[in-house]
């Protein structure tokens, strides 16, 4: 059973094709990593999955339904959660309120349930003790974790993480990898990531994008040994 698939998905910006005819499938429960050099089209691609930007051509299917024409908020409500590459939190609101906003449309007026869900999510990423602080006062690493907590607490079917470890310290990266392995089996995860070490340690399968196209796809081991991938990354071709 596939949770998410795309069919010939493309996006053009003027004359430039950022994403070129990608057909892509994530089976339910998988931790999938999406890697590729800068400008490969990773963020454009996931923005089309989540509905942040419209596709020029092609279709997106989520949970068996064609969502290509659906606005972003309905895709989120259908069970996608999206965390931003550039930390995008509510700096002037409390950490608690940041996460609460993410779940309130699910708990519909039940503030006790909201509180419970928020506390669970904060505990899961390990920032429970910061709940009453203003989110803007958190360190960068903690803001990244808050961003993830906002996605987690929605209990999505698909969690899209755009460069979650960017700017994190080594200890925080290890904590993040543990978090991902805890979530394995609970939700399907699509991880856009620069840090190859994180990808190799946490992903079940890897898709490599280059110039808007799928360059290679396979298990971490296969990708590691793939000559074309090495060429794209190292620029030796």
């Amino acid at each position: 059973m596939n949770l998410l698939s795309t069919h010939n998905l493309s996006r053009k910006f003027g004359g430039i094709t950022a994403v070129d005819n990608i057909s892509f499938v994530i089976p339910t429960g998988q931790v999938r990593a999406l890697i590729g050099p800068n400008g490969a089209g990773k963020t454009t691609f996931v923005s089309m999955l989540s509905g942040r930007i419209a596709a020029t051509e092609g279709q997106v299917f989520f949970d068996g339904i064609d969502v290509t024409k659906e606005p972003a908020h309905l895709r989120i409500r259908a069970g996608m959660a999206y965390t931003f590459q550039i930390t995008s939190i509510y700096g002037r609101l409390s950490v608690f309120e940041n996460v609460a906003l993410a779940v309130r449309w699910q708990t519909i007026g039940d503030e006790n349930e909201t509180k419970r869900r928020v506390e669970d999510a904060l505990a899961e990423v390990g920032i429970s003790d910061r709940a009453t602080q203003l989110a803007g006062d958190l360190s960068y690493g903690h803001q990244r974790l808050l961003e993830i907590a906002m996605g987690l607490c929605q209990r999505p079917k698909l969690l899209i993480l755009d460069e979650p470890t960017q700017g994190l310290a080594d200890s925080e990266i290890n904590q993040f990898i543990r978090l991902i392995s805890n979530l394995r089996g609970v939700m399907t995860i699509l991880l856009i990531e620069h840090n190859i070490d994180v990808v190799m340690r946490s992903a079940d399968a890897i898709t490599v994008l280059n110039n808007g196209k799928v360059l290679a796809e396979g298990s971490p081991k296969e990708i590691h040994e793939n000559a074309a991938v090495q060429a794209a990354y190292l620029g030796t071709s």
Binding site: S88, Y90, L93
Partner: protein
Amino acid sequence: MSELKKSWLLHLGIVALLFVLQFVLPSYHHASMARIMVLTCYAMGYNILFGYTGLLSLGHALFFAAGMYGLSLSMQHLEWLAGPALIIGLLSGVVVSLTIGLLLLRTTGVAFMIVTLMFSQAGYLTVLYFGEFTRGDEGLVIQQELRSIAGIDLSDPTSRYFAALLLMTICIIVSLRVVQAGFGRVLVAIRENNERTRMLGYDIQRHKLSAIVLSGTMSAAAGACYCLLFGYAGATFASVQYSIFPLLWVLLGGAGTVLGPFVGTLFMFYLIDLSSGLTTAYMLIAGFSLVMLTLFAPQGLVGEIRRRGLRWLP
């Protein structure tokens, strides 16, 4: 005591204080206070959109005037009683804000400001154009004997004061409820980070439209009541000046605070009132005070109090 209880106590306490003031204020201040309370409702309506949702309108006079002319025209030309005319005033606010709101949703940022300004100028010119009915700048005077609802004469200072207090109490309760509810929190989230809120699963456009309609309707309610209580509707109230006033009141009092609009309106009213007693250059004093406040309390008076300790102020 929970923060929720504290904020209800504070706001209802202020209502109670205003109730008591009715019996002790000298007649000049008594009349001023009634006017301030009605204008506060206008500012509270403005605050829903500007303070909480973060949308800066430069054309709220359109909504104020929609209420004012909805009431006065139906009383003057259809010979309706004050009660039904008041409802027409409110409905005018709903219809105008819904229509304009649907168009406004297509704009953001500076374009939003410009479009609100243009619509309200169009409204102002419409009032002048139909001078035969509205009597333009000269305005309509509502006869004293018509200004009563359920046998209560609203031109009488005491009942006028209480009517204004009732309206303001309703607006305070509505504002508090909105701010405490999930809906209000989403409005704040939109103000703080529009894109993030969309990607958390909220329909931004629908929330913005609701905020515009709520804000426009509160402003129209203030416009209709102003006309009913003070017996006059004139084109000045549709002019750009009356679009800027609520912005100033809200900025001074504290955008995004329930009490800010009241404090701002009160402060500005008496600032102009007192300084005009001292000098003919009273706008200079008013302007200077505004500049000082913007420099030293950029979040407004109530916003500053909140920043300095009363974090729970809604």
